[in-house]
Symmetry: C2
Subunit: 328 residues, 2 copies
């Protein structure tokens, strides 16, 4: 086996912790350290032996790290960090603001080409594995329709929105796919849905003392952009139940492609994820693409890439001949 | 748009007809003709305007065809045809004898490298799309287990076996995945199954006049390799019902990857196909890989490839920037 791929983690929230754990499942890779803007001493890594450095320590490490996995947020961190670091390092990020992918790609691509590095952006499950499902589905069934359903799963953005409502002490929101809508899609109807028909939203709230439940419920259900276009339920629970039942970050969903071939043969392709931990799965996907990123750089393929540009075999630690023999 | 990719179909059974129909759904490709070992006049193409040629006509057409889609069988046709034609043409085939893929790959690779062509082998849904599901599943969840279930679907090989039983006039066999087994897999149990637990087999038979049903049933259920290891049901029906209900070639199945990340987060990735027409879907996948094959040849990437070697974006007629904007 060739030498281990040397990985750095930039940012140490839920995603960074997931990457640290995922690397332990991939013996062809080695964690060189976590790089943070916080005080390194304030961070307690999950694994004994993981080193924590100040971000500035990266300055001397260009030749000591093969790929940086960027674990910051899409709104504030990645638009700045990804281009800045791609000019010096191979990087993989999970940028997930769909509408801004073209500009993010352009910025990272320019930086990576300038620095002679390889950068894989928008990696995870949506964008990421779900994007692959949409692409394969359309390529294999060009006459058809694709629907993506999300959930059951915890939405971070919507949970944050709940917590900003006056009277809410703690809150989480789960997105639920509408079974009836999925069945219509699977039946090949190719329906056009309004937002309300595809997903519902379920909120679990712990009230501040003295808060009015009906007031809070109304404030949530009528909140524009977040809840007004959905059928939203609000359940009030106590703090103990909240801590017991709502501490995880499950998510998942469905990509469903239906199409017709020949005269009228109905064909269905469906991809499903059911995740106990959204950040850990995203991290695990990032680590597989870090492997591919390193291999592309070794071949001299510099610039920004997405999951669409990367041959599946590059994701696996196994040799091509072994993959053909055992997995094809 | 660049010029249409010029396609030739070699062999005109169910799969060849499927390719002819799939090409009509892909306006960036153009069918140059069908090439057959039969008398061209004996073949009636599905689409008006499709030309039929003797196989020998290929000799003068090296510069007139971009990719040949090989639609012969894996047992007798492809092991000979694929290397022979790959030495002169870019080819795509649906070679599906899993155990012989390494030798087929080696033979086609040598021919393609010798001829400076690109060849994509073992394309379809299994091997093919299901192989991709297995590879992505393992790459993203390295600590886990993958199970493939087939069906509900018509098995050509098992139907042929039934029809060789004395007393059987007509017969089909459907492979059915065992729901209970799939539920155990989805629950993350990672069970080890014996053959009988994963699939059952359902046969529909029209008897020859005077044949003994219990004799036929016994002969089928005890047939080694094909049925003895399965729970097999045999239903006797009349010829009219046979023609009415069993004339299609549906198939499909499930690839299920379960794994754990972090401490004990269970993660599930599942891919499902439900196909009214197995050959039409296989054909549709072949056509998408013919597009990728042509693009790889244009880049100078010669030799044999499989679905593992091909970046997903190469399968789509859309431009990379459009894919990033609309599908990622």
């Amino acid at each position: 086996m060739s030498e281990a791929i040397r990985i750095g983690i930039v940012g140490y929230g839920n995603l960074g912790r997931g990457v640290e754990q995922a690397l332990a499942q991939n013996p062809d890779m080695r964690l060189e350290g976590i790089f943070t803007r916080r005080a390194p001493a304030s961070i307690a890594p999950l694994q004994a032996g993981t080193k924590v450095h100040r971000m500035e320590a990266l300055d001397g490490l260009r030749d000591a790290i093969d790929v940086l996995v960027l674990c910051g947020g899409s709104r504030d961190d990645l638009p700045v960090q990804a281009p800045a670091l791609a000019s010096r390092f191979c990087v993989v990020d999970s940028f997930d603001t769909h509408a801004r992918i073209p500009e993010h790609f352009a910025a990272v691509d320019a930086a990576a080409r300038g620095g002679g590095t390889t950068a894989v952006i928008a990696v995870g499950w949506d964008p990421g594995l779900f994007s692959l499902g949409r692409l394969y589905g359309e390529a294999f069934l060009p006459a058809g329709a694709t629907h993506t359903f999300w959930g059951p799963g915890l939405s971070q953005g919507h949970s944050d929105a709940i917590r900003r409502v006056p009277g809410v002490k703690m809150g989480v929101q789960y997105t639920l796919p509408a079974e009836a809508a999925m069945e219509r899609v699977r039946a090949g109807e190719r329906p056009s849905f309004v937002t309300r028909e595809m997903h519902t939203r379920a909120c679990y709230v712990v009230l501040e003392e003295g808060a009015d439940p009906s007031e809070v419920e109304r404030a949530i259900q009528t909140m524009p952009h977040y809840f007004a276009d959905y059928d939203t339920t609000v359940a009030f629970i106590d703090e103990e139940e909240f801590r017991r039942s709502h501490g995880k970050m499950p998510h998942g969903g469905f990509v469903i492609r239906t199409g017709e071939t020949g005269q009228q043969s109905k064909q269905l392709f469906e991809l499903r994820l059911a995740l106990d931990s959204n950040p850990e799965f995203t991290a695990s996907v990032l680590v597989a693409y870090a492997r591919a990123c390193h291999r592309l750089r070794q071949r001299g393929e510099v610039g920004a890439k997405t999951v669409f540009d990367i041959a599946p075999g590059l994701l696996s630690p196994r040799e091509p001949a072994e993959l053909r023999r055992e997995m094809l």
